[in-house]
Subunit: 335 residues, 2 copies
């Protein structure tokens, strides 16, 4: 084969935001699928904050990406050759393909899901993918969303946050408040997605605005950001309130250990709960959530947006968008 | 009546430890029980860390004690006069009697529980009282203790902590580790109470000793102290570990907002949970826990200690014992 496999390798561990110095691009021969394997040409990369955490040399729910290894990340590609019964040429598959043009599927490789025909890749990566699943199980299973709850979500114009707010309303929340970083995003989540209120956390006084928006306190706070916003929401948690710990993007680029939420003590007097989760644990139940998502989409009750960036080499900059707030909706790299 | 009711009133809000300047003693006429009321002569005061939190002008699960009001606190007394069907002269009753010689029971007063005959007041205030109940429901209901759990408890030589470690073993924990502040306390919880290990948090390296004692991580951490120990335990939480937030005595005397636990992020990757509770919510279920306590006591499987201080005027110093670690077991003031 004349065609080569371009790969982005982790060259060094970042301090702060990623830049060109932590990535090295190489080109190697396209891998040959062995027995029971398929070759996948990667078409779309899913850009997720968790990738940044894998670049640190710190214990986590997955091992750190090794120096010199292909940068780990989910994505979608098309099967272009196969010796496996499970994958036919032309199938679209989802999995941890990595930041490269070609990946293998099948024997000895990680989990790969064949997409049902008719599901657009953008949707598969967003509402039907990790973000939609995270919103659904984070709210309903971890957060135990109840009828009439006042729900607050940070990172509300991101892929997960925008799904959280909408699913919360569809599942009976009385009020949904989102925090986002631009007035345009705030308008989008209220006007297009149906949030009750939006707070621009960069320009508005967060604590005061939350007290106005949630006069009886916050029943469920879905935390994507950590830091000061988590602390403020803990301080305003309602009796038997729940904090769903999904991520902490405000801290992923910090060196050293981030400050903790001093208001955690409110959990005692208000009988509150703060709980973390990893969506991979729910893989067996994805079909349940995907069916719900499909129904709401068909009824026109669920909206989504994708922010598509072109070209493998753009992946590091695409990752930074999540931390600078340069995106609305799901960030995807199209190869 | 010639006899007077001595009362300790809150004269000023403390900063840090309490001292004579924040308390004012007065003497007023002994109250006359009205219709449906009883007069209780207070015999024992229950000295609990939460009393310190009520002295601050901060929102909590109960309103702050007002300046000039009798200092709020639980205790036990004997009914010496009664116009109520519910209380007979000679009954021993438990409730929020306050720091004074006489309190009323019945109509218009707070909840008062008549003690069953034969239950010693010291036991009623300790294992059958708030401390034992807190240990039982904190471990089993909030903490969802499981067979084989590795359990860590701070304040382990205190009234609640010493019950936590023992109940954890009796309910199937595989290993129980306690943190206490003197070698003598450490010996007591291991030699007398049956803890597997004790760590002197004032002289030993806490993080390293916990990693040795809990090589597979901490399944359940029962937190009485907050601060650095909470943070270290969060950093060593096991997969699906639980942190039971009972109190934060290391912070109650701090001015301003205490630092938060920076390691809370471990709850995400390890799918952990941190939850607070207030034992008053479990009052309906106290008999269930008291029956269990009684059974273990009768079998000689449960041990307790009381630290009794004499005289109403000693109550502020008795409260400080909880923060200086001057007590082993339950602190009680005998009037």
């Amino acid at each position: 084969m004349a065609e080569m496999n371009r790969r982005l390798l982790l060259a060094a561990r970042p301090t702060g935001m990623v830049d060109a110095s932590i990535v090295r691009q190489d080109e190697v021969a396209v891998p040959e699928p062995g027995a029971g394997q398929a070759l996948v040409r990667v078409q779309f990369l899913s850009i997720d904050p968790t990738i940044r955490t894998w670049m640190d040399d710190a214990p986590g729910y997955l091992p750190p990406i090794g120096i010199g290894e292909v940068i780990r990340g989910a994505g979608i590609g098309e099967v272009v050759a196969s010796t496996s019964d499970r994958y036919a040429v032309g199938d679209m598959v989802f999995g941890m393909v990595g930041w490269q043009d070609y990946a293998l599927a099948g024997e000895g490789q990680g989990a790969r899901q064949v997409l049902p025909a008719g599901v657009e890749p953008a949707l598969a990566l967003n509402l039907f993918g990790v973000n939609g699943m995270t919103a659904y199980f984070g709210l309903l299973d971890v957060g135990q969303l109840r009828q009439g709850d006042t729900v607050v979500v940070s990172g509300a114009a991101g892929a997960t946050g925008s799904a959280v707010g909408q699913v919360a309303r569809l599942k009976g929340a009385a009020k949904v408040v989102g925090l986002a970083g631009t007035d345009e995003k705030c308008r989008w989540i209220v006007d297009e997605l149906g949030f009750d209120e939006a707070i621009n956390y960069k320009t508005e006084p967060i604590g005061r605005r939350l007290r106005q928006a949630c006069p009886n306190g916050i029943d469920l706070y879905f935390d994507n950001v950590g830091g000061e916003i988590l602390d403020i929401c803990l301080g305003q948690i309602a009796l038997r309130g729940r904090v769903v710990l999904c991520g902490a993007i405000s801290t992923y680029n910090e060196a050293g250990r981030p400050a903790g939420p001093g208001n955690y003590r409110a959990l005692i007097g208000r009988r509150g709960r703060m709980e973390g989760f990893i969506i991979l644990d729910y893989a067996d139940r994805f079909p349940e959530a995907q069916a719900a998502m499909f129904g709401w989409l068909a009824e026109g009750k669920l909206h989504h947006a994708e922010h598509v960036v072109q070209g493998l080499a753009s992946a590091p900059d695409a990752l930074n968008l999540l931390f600078t707030g340069g995106n609305t909706g799901k960030v995807i790299v199209a190869l």
